[in-house]
Symmetry: C2
Subunit: 136 residues, 2 copies
Amino acid sequence: MIKKVDHIAVAVESLDEAVELFERTLGLRVTHRESAAGFDVETATFDLGDVALELVEGTSEASEVRKFIKARGPGLHHIAFAVDDIERSLASLKAKGVRLIDETPRPGQAGSRVAFIHPESTHKVLIELVELERKA
Amino acid sequence: MIKKVDHIAVAVESLDEAVELFERTLGLRVTHRESAAGFDVETATFDLGDVALELVEGTSEASEVRKFIKARGPGLHHIAFAVDDIERSLASLKAKGVRLIDETPRPGQAGSRVAFIHPESTHKVLIELVELERKA
């Protein structure tokens, strides 16, 4: 089901401050920034070879990222796995009794489709599935 | 300085239960298990292409992983970046005023040498540097 790690996301309070910090201390460079309106977040992405490190700031009080920071503080937020067929993956997980946050995929970055698995079903690790390209 | 993501580590309360859960739900397979005595942890590793997903259980009350779980609960614990020259990376970070947990490298898995950066300096993200092979 899982092909590879697509990205690792970090919940931050201020995207500008975190980008400045990661660029200055680690020598990373942001490759793109994006607003994901459906998630009430703004993201900044560092490409690290085949895996992206994504900083995520919540842009409204309703944002899950803001809620996460209130509950746990900023830090590592989720890990995203690339899958070939997101519908099949979600159906397979559901059949195994895994609790899903998204029963059907939502639009993600760059034409991808994404869905989150509930951390209660994955040892408190928030996992996102990403299907990178739409099927023909 | 940073070449790639080496691994992502998840703090778990029970390695056996977490391995069973990740294998059953996500279809992952553990490639190796290891005790890292110097860190008071036991690990189980899933290889996901070029990046490893590592589950980590603390094996003593003194273990940082147990302390992390007490403070924040289980979940994503740290991200490890591969570097070419760990001494040079640590010296560069120190010169930038970054707080280090390990000022000198410690032995890691499979002959690697590792050092942790203090999360206070990296927006609350615990970062490990890994030099995969010893220099000749």
